[in-house]
Subunit: 445 residues, 2 copies
Amino acid sequence: MSRTLHLNAFVMGVGHHEAAWRHPRTAEHHVLDVDHFVRLGQIAERGKLDSIFFADGLAIGPNIRRNTQAIFEPITLLSAIAGGTSKVGLIATASTGYNHPYTLARAFASLEHISGGRAGWNIVTSGNSQEALNFGLDSIPEHAGRYRRAQEFVDVVTKLWDSWDQDAVVLDVESAVFADPDRVRTIDHVGEHFSVRGPLNSPRSPQGRPVLVQAGSSEDGKELAAHHAEVVFTAQRTIAEGRSFYQDLKSRLPKYGRTYSDLQILPGIVPFIGSTEAEAKALEREFTDLISPDYALGQLSAFFNVDLTGLSLDARLPELPPESEIEGHKSRSTLVRQLAAKGDLTIRELIGELGGGRGHRSIAGTPEQIADDLIAWVDADAADGFNIMPPYLPGGLDDFVDQVVPILQARGRFRTDYTESTLRGHYGLAVPTAAESREQAATAV
Amino acid sequence: MSRTLHLNAFVMGVGHHEAAWRHPRTAEHHVLDVDHFVRLGQIAERGKLDSIFFADGLAIGPNIRRNTQAIFEPITLLSAIAGGTSKVGLIATASTGYNHPYTLARAFASLEHISGGRAGWNIVTSGNSQEALNFGLDSIPEHAGRYRRAQEFVDVVTKLWDSWDQDAVVLDVESAVFADPDRVRTIDHVGEHFSVRGPLNSPRSPQGRPVLVQAGSSEDGKELAAHHAEVVFTAQRTIAEGRSFYQDLKSRLPKYGRTYSDLQILPGIVPFIGSTEAEAKALEREFTDLISPDYALGQLSAFFNVDLTGLSLDARLPELPPESEIEGHKSRSTLVRQLAAKGDLTIRELIGELGGGRGHRSIAGTPEQIADDLIAWVDADAADGFNIMPPYLPGGLDDFVDQVVPILQARGRFRTDYTESTLRGHYGLAVPTAAESREQAATAV
């Protein structure tokens, strides 16, 4: 039987393309407008998408002049979007590097209760030196240490979410019992980074706990994903590379007592949709022509954590530090390096390739071509679905929902309506009881 | 000229009275229902109230069996309420003890952008031992140390909110300039507790920065308030006590370069409203009769940080540790101690007195009587307005808004419609430019 797809809308400002805010298809002031983001949630819900997702960081980044992204914090923004939607999942990025597990577990529990069990947490370890400087550090903590902290952090928040049984709130007015204390417990965690007594000050939510999402594709990142993640976002540029990543990651699951369906892999795509292929490609070119080279050079500099901003755009990339020395976004730096080397690209050409999705795969084509492409990846076991990264918003998401989704539905490869009301339900993930979840955690290596 | 009042609705679960969730005027499941809280915001807005406010703590508290409060986290909850309201201010409690200034400044900036400049921050230092145990400490940090950290924390978040000039976002599509880097600056803070480079990753909001709110009435608390707070919530039981607190706090303002109108003082009241005084008093008694004594003993234990749960309800309070040894809620423990001593109350009687508002003043009367009382306090310079703590919700807030507010309006003592769109506007507080705010901070002692 053909597998159905899972679709997440990765929404960011007025679009993923660097030049989106300058293109006539967008209204640049939307980057500051909460109603714009509520509408994006509603468009995703109209398309019956599994979820929407916001990235985040804890610093403004090197290029304030062109940075249209950092305005809203995702957990608060998704709390606002929850009221304007009723089914679509709501995934927020939050850092294990600079939060405390108790406050973060609480914030997500609150989003769970606000949304009726639609929250997801994209786990990031904060690999950028600007962030370190905002939190009292001179430089990024080393990669392996960040992932050790992340493992313990996820362990603690999971214990906190499991500290209330699903039936602990009894609301017995006659006997004046709000919650049964025998079904709420301390966690008494003592570890390398955290000592947390618990319990959490919020009852268990309708889906038990948020869906755990992860996007790092380094060795450490893949192990964290195999251990904990239920949805993985990844940048893969060909079916062959996608298959290889997919097999690699899924094959790591059994050692943590997990099966293939416990983790859904969603490569990113940046769709340029036209009524003909030529029209789609012309649209893509319009966006490429609007890129500001110094913004793109700033972004390349951030990937490699070296200053490239003085270079000629017609040069090739200079000798770069080896991946082993990258303490930041390891897997993204590798991908960009390979891309530049493989195509023998100038910096200008590389920037054009990256403009749409910062390393993610662009597809310019008709709705049919895009649907064919997505189905081909899933049938080749290179994906369980996709992380849709519209180059401009809201139009790019409207077009995907109105033109590509109906084709996937007609072919029986995507839901025609929601059958579940929680994010776990949409992704086909189990809703564990608190006891099952505690047992799972205890038996995993 | 008679002064107009400021009114905040302090909303909590299904009401402030301990027994609210057991009373037939409430629906106990509302404590878990986000729509209930959105409705409370809408009722406050119908009454043209300045703001609504949520308290918070970072632990479940000693009595899980009766604790109906801790479910939603205030910043996320108010982000959800923002979408269902358009004018009323949104005040969230957050701790300086267990947050980091960068992440908290960001969360409030996000609520500011979500709500169009309606956010307020109630600054608490987290004085309870259960909270300490959730954050890796064996006991509560000493009172003075908590306030030193709070001072630095407020200093850092204020610098972060001032790190973007109000006109930094230029959105110039032609020249590809989103923000002018010359109008965004690092803060380079290095202090006893925090090193933070900045700038914040969110532009300055419509009201510049959130309104700062504070409620501790100890010596340290009053100094923090005089230095930073713009609205103060306080528990005062008589006009004489209210006047004394009011004069004390306002007289501390000049040494920080501030004037009387820079800080609004709002004592709490718990209104029981009836069409006759007898009806109102009967309603109050219905609630008192529903109190569960062991919950109330647990709460007294928390005020004094000693275990009173074994005591007979007909006994007087035992010898208690002196206020100087209280590291938690100093001013509240003093108030309860004085109340018990003054009335020579048994523990049962004390619990009855406290049931409505945990030390705050209850008034049972007709709408006219309550309006008279509120105006008398303001005219005696014992208050700038009130922190309305309905004993049950939503009905208790409905009644205040529909029956007491119109009398205040008819007497010219409360706005008949909103004239401003920000929380600063409602409280008559200035909206400083980033430069003015930085200068203010630099000149204050």
